[in-house]
Symmetry: C2
Subunit: 390 residues, 2 copies
Amino acid sequence: MKGNQYMLLPGPTYIPERVQRAMSRPMINHRGAAFRDMQEEILAGIKQVYRTEQNLLIYPSSGTGGLEAAVANFVAPGDKVLAVSIGVFGDRLAEIAETFGAQVQSIKVPWGQAVDPEEVGARLAEDRNHDIKAVLITHNETSTGVFNDLKGVRRAMGNHPALTIVDSVSGLAAADLRMDEWGLDAVVSGSQKAFSIPPGLSFLAFSERALAKHRTNPQPNFYWSVDFGMEYQAKGQTPFTPPISLYFGLQEALRMMLNEGLENVLARHDGYRRLVRNAVQAIGLNPLADAVSASPAVTSVWMPEGIAANELRQYLLNNFNVVVAGGQQSLDNKIIRIGHLGSVRELDLLAVIAALEIGLRQMGYPVELGRAVAAAQEQIFQGTGDRRQG
Amino acid sequence: MKGNQYMLLPGPTYIPERVQRAMSRPMINHRGAAFRDMQEEILAGIKQVYRTEQNLLIYPSSGTGGLEAAVANFVAPGDKVLAVSIGVFGDRLAEIAETFGAQVQSIKVPWGQAVDPEEVGARLAEDRNHDIKAVLITHNETSTGVFNDLKGVRRAMGNHPALTIVDSVSGLAAADLRMDEWGLDAVVSGSQKAFSIPPGLSFLAFSERALAKHRTNPQPNFYWSVDFGMEYQAKGQTPFTPPISLYFGLQEALRMMLNEGLENVLARHDGYRRLVRNAVQAIGLNPLADAVSASPAVTSVWMPEGIAANELRQYLLNNFNVVVAGGQQSLDNKIIRIGHLGSVRELDLLAVIAALEIGLRQMGYPVELGRAVAAAQEQIFQGTGDRRQG
């Protein structure tokens, strides 16, 4: 029998039982003391994950809502911005900025690669008059399984005064991010990724520099207004009714995450990355990303010549109740994407790799059954090993 | 012992066990067939509640997000709009329109009253050049416990071409609303009110006339764009990751609601309204609203001279774990608001009324204990009776 689904998407992710139970608690008054205390704990917890002591707001929205909030508050109509895109979500952030009147200059990197920090540095160095007001960049690009070296990019920006606005919706808590130490100005994340709770909340952390920009920004704002958010946060509330059940889940997920330790959470995701890469490489498949910029949240794998990715995905779903993601836009039907973020068990990854072997063989690709699984087993057997290994 | 909380807010509301269980189901792929089927069922169900066959989108947001979506899509910068406000939420809708560049003319009705439809009609009749592009109006005003006669207002508008944009966040499924029959153009609602699921989803239904307005509206839109929403809905998806657990809950809540029958749901809310009014009047308290426009979702009650509303609320919380709402702005500390929308048991209302009697007596107001309860019991005993009775 197929039983429960193996869902290995790059979000939404598996929801741990403890989080599920927390979300089943009865509603509380969102203008009362219990909510205030819960919000305080949650904000402190998320700030630890962001490694920031600056401002943080939670929006009732998808991750994209958090991105719109960052743009609407911190980019003024007419501002020149430099948008670094390495895939679908980088393009989306640029499109939001364009929608709200920014003059967008782009750095477009071929899909499957990260941006070279020096390229960003060079573009800003040319901008002697400081016309560029913000750099928009994706931390972890879900569509390709590549992450950008944010620390390197920020360092390459040097003393250029542009704000650094980061989409870390699928990156935070899977890949290292140090908002204050690296000097990032606005960082957006979401609940349905490494936080292991259902979709419906986005997070926006922002610096005093970003806030100063907001104060002079004529862009109209209501739902996304950081002023409303901060005004109500000071009272222990939110301006609009918060998704209370998701807050319950978030509180529990943060407790689990901080109890495990952030370093351990990051190491665990790095282990997933290596496990999946080693496994697919053992049967001759090629990951889309090279080892140095491969995402700890999702691994994209090229299908061999003659194998239709979407047909394979359908086979996995029909025969084993396994869900993995496909490619988007130009990568459609050419890659599969195996998500491994949040609360993933290594044994689930082994099981899905086993199913993948069977599926490939059924579709005519020569696989020695068990070979990819063995490569993954070997890694688990040897313990964490050298984290830098491809 | 105090045990579980009696939470009688005008939203969020009690979540039925069946809905809780549905929300605990594991995540599914929001780009897959199971989500598509669920969304189809949900959209059909909500449309039945709206009594519309027109367009409907679900946003991952608070109710206020749905209001912003209505304004951002259907009101152009510079448009003259007529905002009818009978309380805090009417003011909020006007403020959103102002934020996004509309020229707002207001009809402000004293708090506790509904608008006279003829007043709206008269204002539009004066507007011979049809400069007014939209009428913004609240269906049920949560801050006062008053509902507007939408049908009468729409009729009084006659053939004036202004769009009718309605905030029915706390009204829908508690008070009658017939979008198509009454000719409303955009109607916003939310999950945490009569739908009995946690906050986090808003609904926006809109007419072809509203859509035509959107087509020529230069207001920039991304997260709220009805184009994106409709484009993805045609594929059985949503443009941004949907709050899947809330969708599970909504599906279950709609099944319960449609199984009960919409007429019965409305009659039940009308019964709550009469029950609470009869009870408080039996001990000499005055509801803020008169019988004809008293909300079926929430009842506001004036405190007697010398009784501080917030002190009474604190007493009820401390001694009986009962949560009722207070007054907002000028009504703060002067009224309490007893919410009765969604899945409320009559016996819970009796219990809270009993606690209210005790609290009032403790605070020095002369109450013959049991009198308010008896009035409510009498109503239950006699069955539904005449629904028009105050």
